[in-house]
Symmetry: D2
């Protein structure tokens, strides 16, 4: 596996030259470099992947020395990401990810599944993944979330994935896991935000439905989009059939988004993502 | 070319049997039949295409006799549709349709082009299509539209196509041409309605942009959708580049929608379309 | 669930009228009708779905009476299809179908999985689906197939699905299960038939890869195509990465094809399929 | 417009550092950099775009000095590409490109159109583009091509585009214009090479058809692929309807390929293309 360096900083001339100078001096076996400048905000982004050993602290210090002040430098050693999934009743995204985790189709490991219903406990057990039922019955939103957070944190995950988790989150929850919390929304954002997007799609008579994977922020379904895709529908589809058809798009879009995130290809910027595929 | 029968009526058992009985009795050379029932509204829709002669009036009367009261029966003899285009400054949809009309790629003929700017007069002239400049300068919306309507009506068109015509229409205009007025909107509805959809798409950081062809109603961009398609974009696209990329989707989506309409494959129902492809 | 009538016969005028006459006379609650005529071969195809009771034998006899001689009439009562899967080492199609079967995302039940390697035994067990290891080691192709056939037949399946089963079948095997045997080929047929299609795709430098689900015939990868789809690739993809990317297309294409087959929407004709979606 | 530097050479550590060092030293306003290493062949590719003045000769010399021997360095000043189109009878690709050239939708100018039939002379005239009829009647393939080459060369084009030009070229012709000759083939290569690909597609019963834009080499339809795309078809499509549907894919695929080529984003390597989008 590869080590990945992600750099985000104010742009200035010569950055690529300085950065690659350090890589060259260390004779790192660089496998891929990608860079992009958002000219409107004068922001520079670069991703470097390399194989072989290199003391991360030293590399970090040397990069810091040549980059603008406040440069964001992240060096990620090759490792499988620790992930906790939150689920409700729908099984398709959970099932798809349980298989991918078991067979390492993606570089992550599902540490646990937390559900606000017991529905998906059996499926998790089939994959020997710990399942925690944390029902919201009789609890306020805050009380419920505190229990969920406690359970999440006990696993020290790199990422928390809402795999068709249907509860609305508080701003406090989103803020706590900012940049680590990913959701799959069953519509092609920004169309059909909120509840029952397939019913909304049906009512509007669209000829295409979609799904969107995004980082979660305070605003419902408004966070930085990672990945989207669509599938054609027509007048013969009921809202229920649109939902059925949409499930395959949801699970593939979520998996594609997670692939980008787990391979450290994604930068967050101005409520959008920059992705070096 | 084929004659097309379109039937829309309240559903009841035996309709297909009765309708095909009449076709059989007349030994019509039926090429295609399609039917659909919207069960929620108990509405039946059928399209029949046939070749060969058949007195339309007689056929209409016989169908009327076996169908529920108030059945909508339309029999369209093979004919090229008369079309008037409304344009503003962008050339891509106009250019694409001028070629399709000249070479009969679609069964329509552009009788005239009306522009609120002179920009596209030369392009129309290159195809020997009459161009009428009707500027809105110094006129109220209603005054301008009256002039446009007068010009449109002088050509007795079957359809009026807004080919990136950027003026907002009055409810009176939409109502007058209800069912004959088609627009191409440069977004994937219902996302990004109204002005500058590509700028909106850029600001939202979507990874897919699209275009939608629809019948025009009172509400801006809310009419029955005929056809939609998308294209992928990414962080390297400025709003301007999204617009450039979107133009190809717009012209193909519009052409595909017009193909469905001009081949009498489209039914309007509950602010949606039923399309027998 | 619905009963489905599938009719294939020589075309003549009045068929839809006669068929729907029988449905009407029985006051069946017809939910959908689709018909198509292949004019080149003068062949008529029709699919009718209806709910409610109706003695199949009587219906069959009445239809036979009004249709051309040798008409093929199949009436399928609502039932979940019995399916046996054949697998080798790759897990993605098997895993996807095990989930769909367990949750009834498609109207089928996996009776058993037969593998020529032990690799996927655990995954089958996780879903409590019987797994039979039938290794080909030390056996001739015919001997091995006899054992596999015997195991398949013991389950009396409606369909046999080759879910990335990598052994080449004898003509005798294909002939025996003609019309019931479905394969997923990891290329966009007819490109890259045979072995290592992703390596072939990589060598050719294609910008799109795909997968094809088809009925199996004597000729390798030449049988009637049911469903195909593609995904974009580029110069940064190694053959291995193309294969990884292709797996998602394979599993979705296979599932879409099986949906069509299990819902009795597919007719075989002239080495192609007619599908009433 | 931007100046583009394209570099292809044997890979070694430190190339990006050395190249960007030269750009930095000259304080060039770099707008985009992309690099890729084909590890199997140890080949390095880089594309740099920048605005502002810079003496190309001096830049070329300085780059040459730091790069491996035999490095291929091409510096292209901002300029609209001179293009000659070859056509036969089909109008859709020609029409689309004539519009794009007139309105500068792509950075190219159609200097002339050469047709082996007179069919498309009027369309070229509508756009005031010189048309040369060079019929092959009564001439050997070599004699005809000599006339065509002479006409092409008189315009000193950067690129020659076969816009549904149906004549088979001699190896001598392909060799002469190697790297500058682009064709649109009406199938999704490598499926259906050669003649009548839509008839082949129809006979095979595919559910998807496509088009491929590629550089022309000796082998028919075997050259490096630039761009491909597809569209869905079904059993209701005759070969003729597949061809009609395919035309839109052909013209868009060709335009997308030309955009990549005219923006100097394409490298040829091992009979494939590396494209920095």
């Amino acid at each position: 596996m590869e080590t990945v360096i992600k750099i985000a900083c104010q742009d200035e001339k010569g950055l690529v030259h300085k950065i690659t100078g350090i890589l060259f001096e260390k004779l790192l076996n660089v496998t891929r470099t990608n860079e992009f400048v958002d000219e409107a905000f004068n922001q520079f982004f670069m991703r470097i992947s390399f194989t072989g050993d290199c003391p991360a602290d030293q590399l970090h210090a040397e990069l810091k020395a040549v980059l603008p002040t406040d440069a964001n430098i992240r060096i990620t050693a090759p490792a499988v990401k620790r992930v906790v999934l939150l689920v409700t009743k729908e099984h398709h995204c959970l099932g798809d990810l349980l298989i991918r985790s078991q067979f390492q189709d993606l570089p992550f490991h599902i540490e646990a599944v937390i559900g606000n219903h017991a529905t998906l406990e059996e499926l998790s057990r089939q994959f020997q993944v710990p399942f925690h039922l944390i029902s919201a019955d009789g609890l306020s939103r805050e009380e419920h979330e505190r229990l969920v957070e406690k359970q999440i944190d006990s696993y020290r995950p790199d990422y928390i994935v809402l795999a068709k988790y249907m509860r609305i989150l508080t701003p406090s929850f989103s803020a706590k896991y900012m940049g680590r919390l990913i959701n799959i929304h069953h519509s092609f954002l920004p169309a059909f935000v909120g509840a029952k997007p397939y019913q909304q799609a049906f009512d509007r008579g669209v000829k295409i439905i979609g799904a969107t994977a995004h980082f979660v922020t305070d605003d419902l379904d408004e966070g930085p989009i990672i990945c989207q895709d669509v599938v054609a529908v027509n007048h013969t589809y009921s809202a229920k059939e649109m939902a059925k058809s949409g499930k395959d798009v949801e699970k593939i879009v979520l998996a594609n988004a997670l692939k980008m995130v787990f391979e450290d290809r994604v930068f967050l910027h101005q409520n959008k993502t920059i992705i070096f595929e």
